[in-house]
Assembly symmetry: C2
Homo-oligomer: 304 residues x 2
DNA sequence: TGCGGCTATGACGGACACGCATGGCTCGCA
DNA sequence: TGCGAGCCATGCGTGTCCGTCATAGCCGCA
């Protein structure tokens, strides 16, 4: 999609919305011919038909439906960028944008943020949750000033230009419905969950699940794709599946979920990641120090 | 940003990454002159300087930092779109994409999904959380097949072309740290929380908070901007602030948070939203019926 | 069967994007 | 302190691209 422009995407989006190339052309101030051509160029670039042509208008193909979903997001984001660039024109600084895997929001991140804002009362921090394969590129791309990431499989993505600060180890546990046949045990072997239905969504965590289950001799059946821990917990508690849960999250789980140690548990490392040029003397570096202090209270860390 | 293209955005992104127009030009296969001009055009379109020019390279301005964050997302999304369009070429259908405000993931959505997948075992559903002001445009744009939304202030956005199905009322409660001075009460008046620090993030919920506090005679001080309910709960439980919590979420809250009724509570309505042409005979319509059945178990609803 | 609605495509002209060349500024080194 | 190197901005020329106009073809309906 290197040569695709937002103009063609916008036209495609409007064609799908109105179900007609002519109507979209009128709405956008082009001729039907121009819009037809834009669509044809898009289809050539993406090497896939995007619209089914009928005598009375058009309908997206399945591939067109996929592009439509992305187009909506891209176009919306482009508008927001313009608005925010205009708003940022008068600012002297931008907030420190911190990203982290969701599991650290339950305990570690609030404690680190508290220490940081106490030391730097004028600082503004914006927090965004994400998964490691997304967070590191976002850090490198400049969207984030700091990211808390883990080395879940497939391991850390390439991170040239990034300084990693190890925060702690974090083993996985099994989260079972309270009435599960294995809930009465203290330690569970992963292979004993081969026949269960799994609750998982994030690409990183799903990969670790598949990898761990592969070593235990089975492929997990993930029927419930759920994005957040409230939802995950609800599905597990309601008996619709089991899942793996990082130790960092265990204290925050609802009481009607049975959390059990795994024999030989998959264990991840948790890191604070900064761009190498930001590794000293920057707000991101100060925040990393706060994270380290929160993760290892026994080490004294200065926030200067 | 109507005329801005991805080519200029890509160049800007690479210039920031390498800190040099010449280096970016070389990496992208352009001359320095072409890239310099692309940046100049971007700056003119966005009416803001985006780079500070130095003798040895460039650095983004604060406005440039803002654009860089968005550019990273847009460019990444564009790549994913191309990949997924290629992968979708052979598909006969796409998953039903369901969006909802996060509060329904804790109970209502898992129940509805269970009923739906029991009735349609071959169906694939992808779920994405969001806030109402984002969800309705995403529904209309084609990204979502169905969205569960609420009429938090500023109320529902314009929704021509959308069919709304009322699911239930949902009053707000106060969520307080367990040791809060008002935690011993059964009913709290919002004005009594005027001097507290607030935990909130989402634009919709923050607007309702500001609106409700305005009616109670004060402006809430939101020091902790936190995106997810695990984090919100952690900040409240740790004593760093109070927040409002929808009734739908109350059963899923951790036990060390004091949840209290509000006198005259702000109350929202919860709706399932579909595009009008999808209102009958589609997977989205069937899913809406499952949501209605889950929200009102006393009404019998057929999933045909 | 003819007409209207709609999409695809040929031909053409003007706008745009980029390369080459050059000017101006800053920085580092002898 | 002066010179050279590095780097960005901009004028000019050229080829490509984008949009318009016109036309052809298909489908559905009265």
């Amino acid at each position: 999609m290197a040569a695709v422009d937002l103009t063609a995407l916008r036209s495609f989006h409007e064609v799908c919305r109105l179900g007609s190339i002519s109507a979209a052309a009128q709405a956008l101030g082009y001729t039907q011919s121009a819009v037809s051509r834009q669509i044809a160029v898009l289809e050539a670039q993406l090497k896939s038909p995007l619209l089914r042509r009928h005598a009375r208008g058009v309908r997206p193909t399945p591939a067109g439906d996929v592009l439509l979903g992305h187009a909506a997001v891209i176009l919306s984001r482009a508008e927001r960028a313009a608005e925010e660039v205009a708003a940022a024109g008068g600012l002297q600084s931008v907030p420190l944008r911190v990203g982290a895997v969701p599991t650290v929001t339950a305990d570690l991140m609030p404690r680190a943020l508290t220490a940081y804002t106490a030391a730097f009362p004028q600082a503004r921090v914006v927090f965004a949750a994400g998964v490691t394969p997304q967070l590191l590129p976002r850090l490198l791309d400049g969207e984030l000033g700091l990211a808390v990431v883990t080395d879940y499989p497939p391991g850390l993505p390439p991170h040239d230009g990034v300084r990693l600060l190890h925060l702690r180890d974090d083993p996985l546990y099994a989260a079972l419905p309270a009435g599960h046949r294995l809930a009465g045990r203290d330690v569970v072997d992963l292979s004993e969950l081969a026949g269960d239905t799994w609750v998982e969504d994030y690409a990183g965590a799903a990969a670790m699940l598949v990898s761990a289950c592969g070593r235990a001799g089975f492929t997990p059946r993930i029927d419930i794709e759920c994005g957040g821990w409230l939802g995950k917990q609800a599905f597990v508690a309601a008996g619709f599946g089991v899942t793996l849960v990082p130790g960092l999250l265990v204290p925050a789980l609802r009481p009607d979920i049975a959390v059990r140690e795994l024999r030989d548990p998959p264990t991840r490392n948790v890191y604070a990641a900064l761009r190498t040029p930001d590794a000293t003397g920057t707000p991101a570096a100060a925040f990393a120090a706060a994270l380290l202090a929160a993760a290892r209270p026994e080490d004294h860390v200065d926030l200067a």
